[in-house]
Symmetry: C2
Subunit: 333 residues, 2 copies
């Protein structure tokens, strides 16, 4: 199955297939091999066989622990002694704090002062040290850079980092190993760590699989970048999918340009509706960002947007993997 | 492991171990072998190793499909042709409708006219035919008896039926097979089908295991029956655990008297708190009734209420199975 391996064949991507396999071996003892769940009623609605990779059931409640663990356990002992630093208002913050605790080092986390309390509590529960900053991107990066300069801590960027991308790639690798003959895999896209990793991890395991990103209309920078071939920025976003408010980095965009099959935009209503269906029918808690990967499949003609290859006389439904990226929500009761 | 088999050794219970094994074989091709999930943070709170048997992820969203499938697939062809009838406002209704559809027969379901819309929709989605009645117990049983007399349909009682109890026993049998050396298993108790089945299924697989029921203070008939040794009735109940408003039958009470190790009452606040913890920490949707099995373990001294045998110099935490009975809730958003 390694004949069309995008990771090993890619000239522009420095992430070889071997790197992803090594990342998987490195993190496997510490993370969950998350289950793949199915739902007859959602299959019926989507007119497809859906295979949900449940990263909401992953340690720290999201796939982010894969990349963070790979990055932090790739450090030399000397680097690890200096501690790590990152900036994030969400799941990457908790993942870095948790992985740093596993490695026995310190994690400095820069968070916007309006970050949800539940996210702050998660970081603190893993022993991460929070520094609050103004809720704008420049304040985050400047504060993190200042801490890095003062302490010598190693920066663990949320997605503009090959170790992170290789770690996130292991979710799709596991999915494609557990569920053979997938026609397509969908993930949400924000900074592109999960989506670019999924391109490498899924196609590296199963070369003919198509990979698509789901993105909120209200945070459509990846779609615009993909369409125009030029990296676009995101000024601001108020999408309910609070994990998808970052924009692509050059590193993730380059991988997507080479390997991605498309990006599908979804409305806020479609996100909420898909999220509710998963809670009700599958009895699992996902955050809105996760629903963005399923939402395109539930609308009329959604399946045709994937433009899957004609399967000729084959009349079976397509087999589609959906990566449910996380389950961290604040319950207001 | 069959030396102290409560099912086969029981004089008063007509349910032999062989009956449970046969039930499992009968239903296995149609139901999910549900996963057992764990949570480090809940282990920490309970000071025990908890193993959650996720019947909320079961077909129709609850364990009830086990008993219903066993009962309906135990019918002769002649019986099955006559159709089945039951009365239930909840998960048993959907389970009977679903299992009847699998068997290719009809299901008449008597439901109180104030039954939640979501429960009615579930019954209808499986092709069950609903007859509404006044929301009192006598109206339910009388209406079901009338339909039975008119149509010749076979009554599938929610719990006062050996085929149902043997079916429900398979959840604990699976759990005890998947997780060896359990010290105790907890389930919610209402009519006692799940709890009596759990006594037989768990102790039949692992003879030294203790079995306990969790029950809302506001629907404490099983506790009072257990304490007094005389079957007590439940006048009415407004507990949030809407699946636990029935009372024991002579058949289930007899099994509990012989094999149960205790019943633990929980307050409404403890139910809501346990439910929220499971949603937040484990990222799964459970209904309030399910939380009743965990709630006793989360209060100070909760573990001591189980009065587990002294393990001497052994200092490891006890290993406790918790059966999460269902996940059918109405989401108000």
């Amino acid at each position: 199955m390694a004949t069309a391996n995008p990771a090993s064949n890619s000239g522009s991507s420095p992430i070889e297939w071997k790197t992803i396999v090594e990342a998987h071996e490195r993190i496997r003892p510490r993370i969950h091999h998350t289950p793949v769940l199915t739902s007859e009623s959602l299959d019926h609605l989507a007119n497809a066989h859906l295979f949900f990779k449940c990263e909401n059931l992953q340690k720290t409640g999201s796939f982010k622990i894969r990349g963070a663990t790979n990055a932090i356990f790739s450090l030399t002992d000397e680097e690890a002694r200096r501690g790590v630093v990152t900036h994030s208002s969400g799941n990457h913050a908790a993942a870095v704090a948790c992985a740093a605790a596993w490695r026995g080092t310190t994690a400095a986390i820069v968070m916007p002062k309006n970050a949800p309390r539940v996210k702050c509590r998660a970081v603190e529960s893993y022993g991460g040290k929070i520094t609050f900053c103004e809720p704008v991107v420049t304040a985050r990066t400047e504060t993190a850079a200042r801490i890095q300069a003062e302490t010598g801590a190693v920066m663990i960027h949320p997605y503009d980092d090959d170790r992170i991308i290789a770690g996130q790639a292991t979710a799709a690798k596991e999915l494609a190993e557990d569920v053979p003959e997938l026609d397509a895999v969908l993930t949400p896209v924000s900074g592109g760590g999960l989506l670019s990793g999924t391109c490498l991890g899924a196609k590296g395991t199963w070369p003919t699989v198509r990979v698509y990103g789901g993105e909120p209309e209200r945070a459509d920078d990846a779609y615009r970048s993909w369409k125009t071939g030029t990296l676009q920025s995101l000024e601001s976003s108020d999408t309910i999918a609070d994990g998808l408010r970052a924009s692509l980095a050059p590193r993730t965009f380059a991988i997507l340009q080479k390997h991605l099959d498309g990006i599908l935009l979804v409305s806020e209503e479609e996100i909420v509706s898909a999220m509710k269906l998963i809670w009700e029918r599958m009895k699992i808690v996902i955050e809105p960002s996760s629903a963005v990967a399923l939402a395109p499949l539930l609308r009329p003609g959604g399946l045709r947007e994937l433009a899957l290859p004609d399967r000729g006389s084959q009349v079976t439904s397509p087999r589609i993997g959906v990566i449910l990226s996380g389950g961290n929500v604040e319950l207001n009761w």
